[in-house]
């Protein structure tokens, strides 16, 4: 006997993601799902973004790691609310983990919530968290061919930060090739060239993010 099912494997996650999305909407919090490989500079970017924006808006951070709270300690030193999620081996955050973490945050006091996903270019792209913005980092040391190897994340993200551009002269990384690949794969993607070490390009990123937060809050209240 054949039984029709038509049930998505990620349906359970999608349902919770939509509930998270409603919470973010109601509280006017732009949630940013920040994804990248291990060592690409996620925590550095969060730190730099806090330095540039935490004086003018309410920012919270969720730190996703397989284990340890090293990153959360670092971020906590900026005086913003931080929730650490240890996935206990899982290679990505999912919507239910975010829902649990949100209990520990006062969303009404926030404008921006940065969710640092687990370091991985594959799995996080499959799991919607209910975020308003998907951001990813590619660092120069990883090479310009990564979009073709990890197409899902590069095709689903709204913004790409090419980090460690201070290393460009020491590598074979070709920015032109990367830009052309991105243009063909995800033409709407916004690209910033930054260095979290030297600070290069970060003011443009902060300016852009400031506008996205204002837009999101405008949309949420009006």
């Amino acid at each position: 006997m054949d039984i029709q099912i038509l049930e998505g494997v990620f349906d359970a996650n999608e349902k919770i993601a939509r509930e998270n999305e409603v919470l973010f909407r109601e509280n006017g919090v732009l949630a940013v799902n920040l994804m990248a490989s291990p060592g690409a500079g996620k925590t550095s970017l969060v730190s730099r973004t806090l330095e540039l924006l935490s004086g003018e808006m309410g920012i919270g951070v969720i730190e996703g790691d397989i284990a340890s709270s090293v990153d959360a300690e670092k971020i906590r030193s900026y005086g913003v609310p931080v929730v650490q999620i240890n996935t206990g081996g899982a290679c990505h955050l999912d919507a239910a983990m975010i829902r649990e973490a949100l209990v520990h945050l006062d969303l009404s006091s926030l404008d921006l919530l940065i969710i640092e996903n687990v370091g991985n270019l594959v799995c996080p792209a499959e799991f919607n968290l209910g975020e308003g913005l998907r951001a990813m980092i590619l660092s120069v040391a990883e090479g310009h061919d990564k979009p073709l190897k990890y197409p899902l994340m590069f095709s689903q993200s709204h913004v790409l930060l090419v980090n460690k551009v201070d290393l460009l002269g020491m590598s074979d990384f070709d920015l032109g090739t990367l830009q052309e690949t991105i243009r063909r794969m995800n033409p709407g993607m916004v690209v910033f060239e930054v260095s979290c070490r030297t600070g290069e390009g970060l003011s443009s990123w902060a300016e852009w993010l400031r506008k996205r937060v204002a837009e999101y809050r405008g949309g949420a209240t009006g």
Binding site: D2, Q4, L6, E7, V9, R183, N186
Partner: protein, 113 residues
């Protein structure tokens, strides 16, 4: 990379529906899998035996219906299959407005006894 968790989700869906329909045994599971997802069917099949051990789905055949990545060109009003993740329309050279398939991942149907 998360094929184990994904396989557990599939088994959960399959067993729930099989039991609802009073199955003694699940013979076959038809899964729709888009080529843009990062899921490797080989590993899902590998974990399947592990995950369904001692259940009524043990030994069921997994059948993957692969869905190609297809985009829509708003200018030509035509669909085209994407190669190498390049959204350029082969006819007019413009970039496609939408990806219309390739992200599917669902349990379509099961065959039970």
């Amino acid at each position: 990379m998360h094929e184990l968790g994904v396989t557990e989700s599939i088994a959960g869906i399959v067993l729930r529906h099989a039991e609802m329909n009073g199955a003694r045994r699940v013979v076959k599971v038809n899964i729709k899998l888009g080529e843009l997802t990062g899921i490797v069917d080989h590993y899902v099949s590998f974990y399947w035996d592990l995950v369904t051990k001692d259940t009524i789905a043990q030994g069921a055949e997994l059948n993957f219906n692969k869905v190609p990545v297809v985009a829509y060109c708003g200018k030509c009003r035509e669909e085209f299959r994407i190669q190498e993740y390049d959204l350029t329309c082969p006819r007019c050279g413009e970039l496609a407005s939408d990806i219309i398939s390739g992200r599917e991942f669902m349990v379509e149907s099961i065959e039970i006894e």
